[in-house]
């Protein structure tokens, strides 16, 4: 993976596979604290402590049908965060979903870029249009704080029986995310 947004897409796919119906994504760019934090919270099936520990092991996968017994998604994300003075935390319990918190040191020279957050979020929202997403982007520096929200539940309420996958709706979500990412200075992190 070349950037953080691709890791995020991978993680969101895990949540869907864990049967999440609601996924909350927060990206916080905190300049004074020199930290970029990604929080993904889902209401999927959750993991017991054994599976939770194992999920960070590259030679473990929850996919039973798999011939090659590797699962690199989580271990690589963890490695890429920890390598640059960040951290990777997962909390989970069967029946209570999973919360993932990943920190990156903003000004670390080897930190991977955030990348194309817009396409990651658009893909996840449209690719799993039966799942509800709550996206919250936050930018903080000494002078100001800027936020952006996107809630697919609210969009669905306006749309009635028109699906999120209708072309004009996809364009609407794409454009909303574009504006939100610009307003929170996330396009070039």
């Amino acid at each position: 993976m070349q950037d953080i947004s691709l890791h995020l897409l991978d993680i969101l796919e895990n949540s869907v596979r864990a049967e999440a119906r609601n996924i909350k994504v927060r990206v916080i760019n905190n300049v004074p604290k020199n930290r970029l934090r990604i929080i993904v919270e889902d209401d999927g099936v959750g993991m017991d402590s054994h599976t939770l520990a194992k999920s960070q092991d590259p030679f473990y996968t929850s996919k039973l049908e798999r011939e090659k017994k590797v699962g690199l998604g989580i271990p690589l994300f963890k490695q890429n965060a920890e390598m640059v003075g960040g951290s990777f935390k997962m909390a989970s319990e069967p029946g209570f979903g999973t919360v993932l918190t990943v920190d990156f040191t903003l000004d670390h020279i080897d930190r991977m870029p955030l990348g194309n957050l817009k396409d990651t979020l658009l893909n996840a929202i449209i690719g799993h249009a039966d799942v509800d997403y709550y996206v919250h982007l936050i930018y903080r520096d000494k002078a100001k704080e800027q936020c952006f929200y996107l809630d697919t539940k609210a969009i669905r309420e306006e749309l009635g029986d028109i699906p999120l996958t209708y072309p004009d709706v996809i364009e609407y979500i794409d454009q909303s995310l574009f504006e939100g990412i610009q307003n929170t200075n996330m396009e070039d992190v």
Partner: protein, 121 residues
């Protein structure tokens, strides 16, 4: 700024559209979005499908995604599922190939056999 009010207009237009064609999904595109697919460019592949389909206003084509399917050496992998026809799996996809598949297969109904890696269920 996009606001929820913009959605009202979209809704009205979409409802008219649905009345005309009955809201059926003619073709379903499933992009493999597992770890290896993502690492090989599946996000750009899906984005290109969405763009091409929006540009042609193909409201009867649905783009969706799934996890890995065991074709890691041919990622990004895309399934094209059309009612009453065998499923076509395209492998080693990229944005240029997507554009060709949209024109040839989705619009003109001809399978792009150069990119197809499997057909059938």
């Amino acid at each position: 700024m996009k606001t929820l009010a913009d959605l009202k207009k979209i809704r009205e237009k979409a409802q008219e559209d649905m009345k005309l064609r009955g809201g059926n999904v003619r073709i379903k595109i499933v992009v493999g979005m597992g770890t290896s697919g993502i690492a090989m460019g599946a996000r750009e592949v899906m984005k290109t499908f969405l763009e091409e389909i929006a540009a042609r206003n193909l409201s009867d084509v649905l783009v969706t995604q799934t996890g890995e399917k065991g074709l890691s050496s041919m990622e990004p992998v895309v399934d094209l599922i059309e009612e009453g026809k065998p499923k076509v799996t395209y492998g080693n996809m990229n944005p240029d190939k997507v554009k060709k598949v949209v024109v040839e297969h989705i619009v003109n109904g001809r399978v792009v056999s150069d990119y197809a890696v499997a057909t059938g269920d």
